[in-house]
């Protein structure tokens, strides 16, 4: 029984980390129809910035979130202005090619600055755990989950309460009508992209403690994150959270009760199954084209 609870707890914590990393990806797609394949590289970039600050000044990676989030917001804004805005309104496949190119450039730059060797921030809590009875919770993952909840709450408030949020939702629902009521879609898109990339700041800071990384680590992350948002329903924030938790638990349950050998396969099997039964994902909206048929 302890083993079952422990496995589920480990899976939920892992899912919380996945949710934090996937939130920006799904936000950017939901509003802009841009599949940001560079999100993984941006997470690793934030991890490197966190590591550099930690090893130079001893800045705790948790506080590093306060540095990397605004830094990644600015980087996201810059990337949008320099590249992504030229492909706004084009099919999503165009954005895959563009952002994949960006990911390769970011990877190359990180390799030149920090070399292609393994890095990791090791503050005192990096391998420590909280214990409740016989169950342990890894501290870094607990912090990541707390920050994930914080980030998702802030995103929710931004989207529901602020003018920017209403504008984002208006653009996402109907761009030409939004324009009619005085919303400037390109400003909104720039800010959305920047906010989405800013979440990679928090995610990268936490990831730098949880797992060692090198410039090429982003491939592993982006494939997992794309899987999560497809599972949850592309563009849906709650869907990304549910998808992340589901995949986290599926991964640890398989490792414990089937075999670690199957653990990389099972998440993809779950995704395939869901898509066969519900092609729009768990919480995705059916596209109007589907309904019109």
């Amino acid at each position: 029984m302890t083993q079952l609870i422990q496995t589920i707890v480990l899976g939920l914590l892992l899912g919380g980390v996945y949710a934090l990393l996937a939130s920006g990806l799904t936000l950017i797609f939901g509003v802009m129809d841009v599949i940001n394949v560079a999100q993984g590289a941006l997470i690793i970039l934030s991890a490197f910035i966190t590591w550099a600050a930690w090893s130079e000044t001893g800045l705790d990676p948790l506080l590093g979130v306060l540095v990397t989030t605004p830094a990644m917001f600015l980087i996201g804004f810059g990337i949008y202005m320099a590249s992504v805005r030229w492909i706004q309104g084009k099919p999503p496949s165009t954005s895959v090619i563009l952002t994949f190119g960006l990911a390769l450039i970011i990877e190359g730059v990180m390799g030149m600055v920090w070399t292609a060797t393994l890095h990791r921030a090791t503050p005192a809590y990096f391998n420590q755990s909280f214990t409740i009875g016989d169950i342990y919770l890894r501290k870094g993952q607990v912090y990541a989950c707390a920050i994930a909840i914080g980030v998702l709450a802030v995103l929710y408030v931004i989207l529901r309460v602020t003018w920017l949020g209403r504008a984002i939702r208006a653009v996402s629902a109907n761009m030409s009508s939004a324009r009619l009521v005085g919303v400037n879609p390109s400003t909104v898109a720039a800010l959305t992209f920047a906010v989405g990339v800013a979440t990679a700041g928090a995610g990268g800071s936490l990831a730098s403690v949880l797992y060692p990384f090198l410039p090429a680590s982003h491939y592993a992350w982006i494939s997992r994150l794309l899987g999560i948002i497809v599972l949850g329903g592309m563009g849906s924030l709650p869907g990304a959270v549910v998808g992340a938790l589901l995949l986290g638990v599926a991964e640890t349950m398989t490792q414990t009760y089937v075999s670690p050998q199957w653990a990389t396969l099972v998440p993809w099997a779950v995704i395939m199954l869901v898509l066969l039964l519900r092609p729009q994902g768990l919480m995705g909206q059916k596209l109007r084209e589907d309904v019109a048929l």
């Binding site: 083993q3 165009t94 190119g101 450039i105 030149m112 292609a116 393994l118 391998n127 060692p212 050998q261």
Partner: protein, 426 residues
């Protein structure tokens, strides 16, 4: 629209620039190395003269194995310079022809075919890793050329009936941990472990290492409480560590050639709060600073691993190798893979000098099958499959340093940390 096309067209160009800048350094190194060799025709033991003996090899200088591949290249080059300075091979200068296989199984086959057919090299040396040596050695076998490889101990290398293949380290993967198994099962009653957990990466090296230890420990009556294989790309070891911790094994042994999976298992065991009495990892702890930085140097204390070479080893010729290596590479110490490359070249050199000719490859392989060779890794000899018959050194992290603890005549430390202290932070 035009601007988008422009931008998309520009991206590959930018990318190419980034890549070119990244590779630029390597090319310069190669150029320098070539330049150096041209100038080293004066030396201690007489002058090499006549037409050079050309030795071909392909190494993973880029891609996944770029780091060990570059180290092996350095080992080959240092050997070439030392040989040329002391009168050459059979009195003739040696010239290395080294290609880059980009860590690609197809390209390595192309490279060795080109070395044999187009470059028409006189002798061959091997590439790095079982993954690349398995196809490359088949090319050499077909051409009936002696193939001494510096790194590739998978059992799959030696089950094909090859006659020209020789592995220039002490043992194959299943025997990687022989000294560890002997030591741990030879502990006095009461200290001897009762239970053990085995976990291994699903690759040609990792799984045989773990299976080898499991076989030897089970034969000595150590009960197996956990034994699993994981995909090499596994990042999250939390559930694996929790399951191992629940069994409370005395020994945990991990078979893996990688760095990240080994580091992630240690971190997850730390988080699970379980520290075994003896911890063995096949190769991960030999990554030096990258390893100790990633798990925290305090957590390295007492962890065992197997290794082919140590800079302080009292083996014949090691002092000369170190001197030449440090002189050539800014006083850096050679990586294990550089020493392995050097040793592979020493093996080839011994065969050529004993036979006295490079014209008969069959005579070279016959000599190697019948004799042993003194190298900086110690004495090496081979069975009929080309698998070596010696034992790896047993190393252990002690006080933040890598020490050889067994065998005693090669040991750099006279103590063995046992049992392993608990992880820090608990």
């Amino acid at each position: 629209m035009r601007r988008i096309v422009w931008l998309l067209a520009l991206l590959p160009v930018l990318l190419a620039l980034v890549l070119a800048a990244g590779c630029g350094g390597d090319d310069d190194d190669g150029g320098d190395a070539g330049g150096d060799t041209g100038a080293t025709d004066t030396g201690g033991g007489g002058e090499a003269s006549g037409e050079p003996i050309r030795i071909g090899a392909s190494l993973p200088l880029t891609g996944d194995f770029a780091e060990p591949g570059e180290a092996a290249r350095r080992g080959y080059e240092v050997w070439m310079e030392m040989v040329n300075e002391s009168g050459g091979l059979l009195g003739r200068p040696v010239e290395m022809v080294i290609k880059d296989d980009q860590s690609d199984q197809n390209l390595v086959v192309t490279d060795y075919n080109a070395l044999i057919e187009q470059d028409q090299v006189d002798l061959l040396l091997g590439t790095f890793s079982s993954l690349l040596n398995i196809p490359a050695s088949a090319v050499a076998e077909r051409a009936q050329m002696v193939y001494v490889e510096p790194a590739g101990g998978s059992p799959d290398m030696f089950n094909r009936g090859f006659e020209y293949l020789f592995f220039a380290q002490q043992a194959t993967a299943p025997h990687q941990a022989d000294l560890f198994s002997e030591w741990v099962t030879g502990l006095p009653e009461g200290e001897r472990p009762a239970t053990a957990a085995y976990v291994a990466a699903d690759d040609p090296f990792g799984a045989p290492v773990a299976e080898g230890i499991q076989e030897q420990l089970e034969a000595a009556g150590v009960e197996t409480v956990y034994s699993e294989i994981y995909p090499p790309e596994t990042v999250n070891f939390d559930a694996i560590a929790a399951d191992i911790a629940a069994q409370k094994p005395d020994v945990i042994a991990q078979g893996s050639a990688g760095l990240q999976d080994g580091v992630n298992l240690i971190t997850a065991l730390g988080a699970a709060g379980y520290s075994p009495k003896q911890m063995f990892q096949a190769s991960t702890p030999s990554f030096a600073d990258q390893y100790s930085d990633a798990i925290g140097v305090e957590n390295t204390e007492g962890i065992f691993y197997a290794v082919s070479y140590h800079v302080d080893a009292p083996t014949p010729g090691n002092a000369e190798f170190l001197e030449a290596y440090r002189a050539k590479y800014d006083n850096e110490d050679p990586a294990e893979d550089a020493a392995d490359g050097y040793a592979a070249a020493q093996v080839l050199q011994a065969a050529v000098e004993a036979v006295g000719s490079i014209d008969d490859q069959a005579a070279l392989k016959d000599w190697l099958h019948e004799n042993s060779v003194e190298t900086i890794l110690g004495e090496l000899s081979w069975d009929e499959t080309g698998a070596p018959e010696q034992a790896f050194l047993l190393a252990q992290w002690q006080n933040g340093d890598e020490e050889i603890v067994l065998p005693e005549d090669a040991a750099t430390s006279d103590t063995i940390v046992n049992p392993k202290p608990p992880w820090t932070g608990r």
